[in-house]
Each structure stands twice: as structure tokens, then as C-alpha cells.
Subunit: 272 residues, 2 copies
């Protein structure tokens, strides 16, 4: 049985682990496979998926168990098929370690990632000036994918969402209010962890769709992992506040089933 650096394998129980498994080939190089199972609107390979692949390689070169900050710069669209990931350990300290990855496909770099790792969820001061989104329980919410089929959107077969009501853009009536609150979890029951949050923060449709836009290209995505998520549904908020000269931020917060903030992400993206 082929076993990856992080104990994942093609026979892994859950889609996320199977599809983000990487294998070391020496000298800090890793091989992985970008599957067709994590595609967003238009069949584009999800950026968070590419970052999770990169983080899995980096977890093999750093002494800490959890991503703490992951900054990915997207250079080209990803493609399904094999990928090579080269890694560099930048610094390994007692509390934090930093490493960098270049994810390469067809000899071209697709995403450059710099990430700092730690043991997340220790002791320390905790003060919250914000709260999880107020949502009805998941079983009283709407499954937005219940009655539609969006071509190429395979990520929606792996991650499920629940909202108070189906988003406006899905019925061709964007709300002009680029904020969503929703529940989210892996469909196959995989419990969330710090690594999978790197994908999950980027797994839902961008809030910019509520401004009538059809797509948006991520330039850079930074995720802060704030806690070790408890099992169960995750409560999320996606929001865009500023579109300036075609560029916009896309903010994402994820709270676990215990009401703890577990991830905070921001990307800069570009309208076509």
C-alpha cells in the first residue's frame, strides 16, 4: 500500500485525505495528484484544495502539527493530473516553524505557499468581539444544491452547505449584498481539522456572486487557523466589503459546533 508522508493513502477512508495525500520523493520534493473532485464553478480546480495539498507536503518538513498561517499566491489555474511540490524549511523554532512550497504542474508553478506552523489550541488569553453567524439549525436550513446542478461544480459533491435560504445568484436574482452565512461540512463525514480548514475556507461560492458577477480570480489567499475544530457542522460567513477598480477582498470566518472561531481567511481577487 502506498502511504504518504502524512499517513494518508489512496485507500484513505475520506475523500479529503485520499485526494490531498502526497508522497516524498527525496530532497524535499513531493508528488501528489490533483483530482477532478474539488472543482468550483466552471470546473476550475479549487484554490483551497491546492493549498491543502501544499500544506500536507509542508507538514512533513516542519516539526509542528498544525498550520497556523497559510499564505498562497496563485500564479496559474490548476489542472487535474499529477503535481510536484517542492518544499523549503525556512525556520524551525520552538513554538513556530515556517516553510515554503511551490506546487508545480506541467513544469509550471501554479501556487507558491508560505506557511507558519504551530501546535494550535493551547492555553492563552481569549477575548471575542464577534460571534458566530446566527443561523437556524442545519436541518431547518436549505440545501442550496438540492434542486440545481451546476456543471463542473464537483466540490459540491464533497462539501455540503446549508443556508437560511438559497442564495439570490442561484436563481438569477443577486441580492446586491455580498454576505452569506451558512453551515458547511464534509459530505462523507470526515471531521474537520486544522489542515482541512485550509480547503474549507475557500469551498463555498464567493460572496461577490451576489453583486451579479459570475466569477473572480484569486490572486492571494491568507488563512489564519485559530483553533482545533470540534466535530460537526461548521458555521461560516463569507463577505466582501470593498470592490475597487476590479479588485475585491473575500473574507471568510469559520466557527465550530462549540461556537469557537477556528479560521479567519482573506483573499484578494480580481474580477474578469
Amino acid at each position: 500500500m502506498e502511504t504518504s508522508a502524512n499517513g494518508s493513502s489512496p485507500e484513505a477512508r475520506f475523500d479529503f485525505d485520499r485526494d490531498t495525500a502526497v508522497n516524498p520523493t527525496g530532497d524535499g520534493l513531493y508528488e501528489g495528484l490533483v483530482t477532478d473532485r474539488w472543482q468550483g464553478l466552471g470546473g476550475l480546480v479549487n484554490g483551497g484544495y491546492l493549498l491543502a495539498l501544499s500544506v500536507n507536503a509542508l507538514l512533513d518538513v516542519v516539526p509542528h502539527p498544525d498550520p497556523l498561517v497559510v499564505s498562497g499566491t496563485f500564479l496559474r489555474p490548476g489542472a487535474t493530473g499529477p503535481t510536484k511540490i517542492s518544499t523549503q524549511l525556512v525556520r524551525a523554532g520552538r513554538r513556530l516553524s515556517t516553510a515554503e512550497a511551490a506546487l508545480v504542474q506541467n513544469d509550471k508553478e501554479v501556487v507558491r505557499t508560505i506557511a507558519t506552523f504551530a501546535e494550535v489550541g493551547g492555553e492563552g488569553r481569549t477575548v471575542m468581539f464577534g460571534a458566530p453567524p446566527e443561523l437556524p439549525p442545519p436541518d431547518e436550513c436549505v440545501d442550496p444544491m438540492g434542486s440545481v446542478s451546476l456543471p463542473g461544480l464537483t466540490i459540491a459533491d464533497r462539501v455540503e452547505f446549508r443556508l437560511r435560504a438559497a442564495p439570490g445568484w442561484m436563481s438569477g436574482t443577486p441580492t446586491n449584498n455580498p454576505v452569506y452565512d451558512f453551515w458547511l461540512r464534509f459530505k462523507d463525514g470526515r471531521p474537520p481539522d486544522t489542515t482541512s480548514l485550509v480547503l474549507l475556507v475557500d469551498s463555498a461560492a464567493p460572496a461577490i456572486l451576489e453583486l451579479g458577477e459570475m466569477t473572480s480570480t484569486t490572486v492571494e489567499l491568507t488563512t489564519h487557523i485559530r483553533g482545533r475544530p470540534a466535530p460537526g457542522w461548521l458555521a461560516c460567513r463569507h463577505q466582501t466589503r470593498f470592490v475597487s477598480a476590479g479588485y475585491h477582498e473575500e473574507d471568510s470566518e469559520i466557527w465550530d459546533s462549540q461556537g469557537n472561531l477556528v479560521a479567519q481567511a482573506r483573499q484578494l481577487a480580481l474580477l474578469p
Copy 2:
């Protein structure tokens, strides 16, 4: 006369340009000098200053004139004295280019920066769901440095601030509300531009001081440059919403004198 890659020089008219000048020494390497003029509380070299030095080196290797996204990972405290900056052009495209810098002092890497460059301030859709902070005109505001002297805080000799009222922490009575709105500009009259915003987003005291903390260490800082700032005072907001197990985000927004958002920044920092 010694002239840097970006036309700055030791004889530059303004402090910022003189102190962030870098000189190419070949093979993508640059030399600069970390002066003692941009230090924060406790005499620590300001992180935004180190990023501005790095960005000045990167501007010499990319074909675009403005930083668009700058992500810096802080590995060790900076020190006054010489620095070497090694650069790598990651990708040069028509609209965007990406490059990376390692800022090294005493043979140890202090900050790793990955940045994407563009021509900022072009045409494109603009929609704002937020507004600049509401502040009285600068001359009706308080200069927080007017009656205090904080040891080591040399950055306050280069950047001046105006607030509605002096921050609570300065008089030993933190407000327990980690939000500041304030005006900011270079003291010597240097007009703001896209590169200097990389320093300015990090130039004011962190909002976390209003929670009674005395200091905080930045792990990572990402800045999005959203526009080319008009001359004059800049209106700013610093805010922390979540402190979890000793980690907190520090958000910074800067608006120019025309009321346009010109920078949005977020850092992850660690309480001692």
C-alpha cells in the same frame, strides 16, 4: 552619489526614501540599511519598515510599478544595521507579477516576503460597503505624542497621528475596546504612495494595547494595496476582533484624503 535601484539615495529628500533605499549587488541581491528611525514601542524595528525595504528590492525585479499584495512572515526581530535582501522573480505576467524576498541580517533570515505587483488604480468596477472612519478634521484632533515621550518609539518622529482623543492605554486606562480611528501622515511631508502604504499600515500602535496588553509579536502581515493615495492626511482604522489562545488578528484600513480605500491589511500576532 550612491543611487539605489529605485532612484532613492542617501541624499533623498524624505526620510522614508532615504531609509528604504536598496542597492543592487548583482544576481538579484540587494543591500540596504535598517536605520534606528522606524522603531516601535520598546525600540523594536517596525515590521512594515522591513517589508517596505523588501518591496523596494522587489520593485527592481518586477515589471510592474506598484505592490498589490504583500505577505511578510516575520522569522526573527530586525536589528539596526546592514541588511542583504535576496530576490526571486516567481512569475511575470502581463497584468500581474510575483516575486519573493528574503531579508537577511547577520546571516540570519529576518523576514520572508512574497508579493504580487500590478499597476494599481486602473479602471474597473468599484463598490463600497464600508466608509472611512468618521473623524473630526485633523486640526481639531489630538496629537497623542504631544505630551508624552515613549522610549525607543522613533517611528513617532517620522509619522504623525491625530485622534479624537488620546488612546486609553497611553494614560494607563485601556478602554477594553480594541478599535482606533485616526489620521496619519509622514511628518516630513512625503506624500503617501503605494510603497509607503506597506509601512504605514503597520505604523500605529496595535489596537490590542486597549486590552491592557503591552506588546504583541507579528507572525505574518498581509497588505492589499487598493489604490494610489491622494496627497494629504490618511484616515485609518485599526481593529482586533478576536483573541484566541494568545493569537489575535490586527486589521488595518487606510483611506486617502479623497475618501478612497487605499490599503487593507491583516496580521496574525502573538501575545507574549
